[in-house]
């Protein structure tokens, strides 16, 4: 398993709480909106963790996307963005 993917999955689990991911395996195809149902405050918490861990600015990454891209935003796309940056 990709190291960045593993780390991002760990950070998401920390934000959401392990109880709520029972039976949900975080893969590259997992979407933030539909699959994880990340709430706005959780998004902020994840952004803080990504910034601390990778120096990646999640808000700036999203700022470049249109509404359909944000709806389809997947863990894999975030992992690729991080991999390209670090």
């Amino acid at each position: 398993m990709d190291e960045v993917l593993q780390q991002v999955a760990k950070l998401i689990t920390e934000v959401v709480g392990p109880d709520f991911l029972l039976g949900v395996e975080i893969t590259r195809d997992t979407t933030f909106s539909d699959d994880l149902g990340l709430e706005s405050i959780e998004f902020v918490a994840l952004a803080d963790k990504l910034n601390a861990h990778y120096g990646v600015d999640l808000v700036a990454f999203l700022a470049d996307m249109d509404i359909d891209e944000i709806m389809a935003m997947s863990v894999g796309r975030l992992v690729d963005h991080i991999t390209a940056r670090v």
Binding site: S33, G37, S40, I41, M65, I67, I70, M71
Partner: protein
Amino acid sequence: MSRFLFVVPPLTGHVNPTASVGGELLARGHDVAWVGHPGTLEPLLPDDARIFPAIDDLLEADIRAKRERWLALRGMAVLKFFWEEFLIPLGHAMVPGVSDAVARFGPDVVVADQQALAGPVVARDAGLPWATSASTSAELVNPLRTMPKVDAWVRDLLHDFAGGDIRFSDRLVLVYSSAALVAGEFGEEVAFVGPALSHRAERVDFPWDWLVQRDARLVLISLGTLNGPAGERFLSQALEAVGGLDLRAVVVGEPRPAPPNVLVLPSVPQLALMPHLDAVITHGGHNTVCEALAHGLPLVVAPIRDDQPTVAAQVVDAGAGVRLTYSRARAADIRSALESVLDEPEYAAAAGRVRASFLAAGGATAAADRLEKVVAG
């Protein structure tokens, strides 16, 4: 005396502030009318209110059916559906009825709810001044500012519909909140009048005997329309949370098994209940939050969608409550949040400061003053 026409969508939370402001204008001897869905408006407006139809029962049922589908969505899909499937089509659908109401009533000023897009379009075509009734303060701080492409998409939709951003009148924007909750610099046209609560009709019964039976703290749990399985989950956790506490709770919701210290009712006279309460657990609807704060009540807020995260952040920033995660908060989290706001006096003190700012803002009286100035030019 002048003539004021309120244009409103078929949503209780959007009608309520106009019921108060319109009631104040009526008390001053002005002529006032509303245009929207008569079946939604009648229970909320004064007995003698003049109502013009712009939404028939068929369309209203269609809107409710759409709402059911919308409640199942998550994340950015909520916003896309809201604009493309709800707000813009509703705007188009209401134009003929609003035009007819303007022709028949002959208003001096049109007061359009921020989600009744037909109002500004019809007013402009008729050469009438129009004001905005912003039933939430969230649009003022633009929650989409960090997503410029999404923000531009909303503006494009508005431009296609109306040729401009008609969410805000350049004459008057009535905001039912205060600077104690909403940070920022705003133009002269933005009037923070605080919640408009006077002249409101509440035609729902309540078993008042239940309140005087025992001396215990009282909590209201009001989550708006339940949001599918996530709503059921949160409510069952909330019932478990209050079940073990030495207090009583009124829950707004469909009948369901509940602990003996909990009363579940499909609807309550919320304003009349407020003076009896010690705290409110809510999803963060702007009206419920501001009504609670107007009574100095601390809050537990579990926002779901739309403006609710913004409103929840306002409450937390003001120090008047605790925020929970709607889709994941457990009974223990809810119980601990509720105990905090009830037992730690800072929360009630902060809610009291917001209450003072609301009183200073003037409510429906201040809103009516500002509307009279629009007529004067």
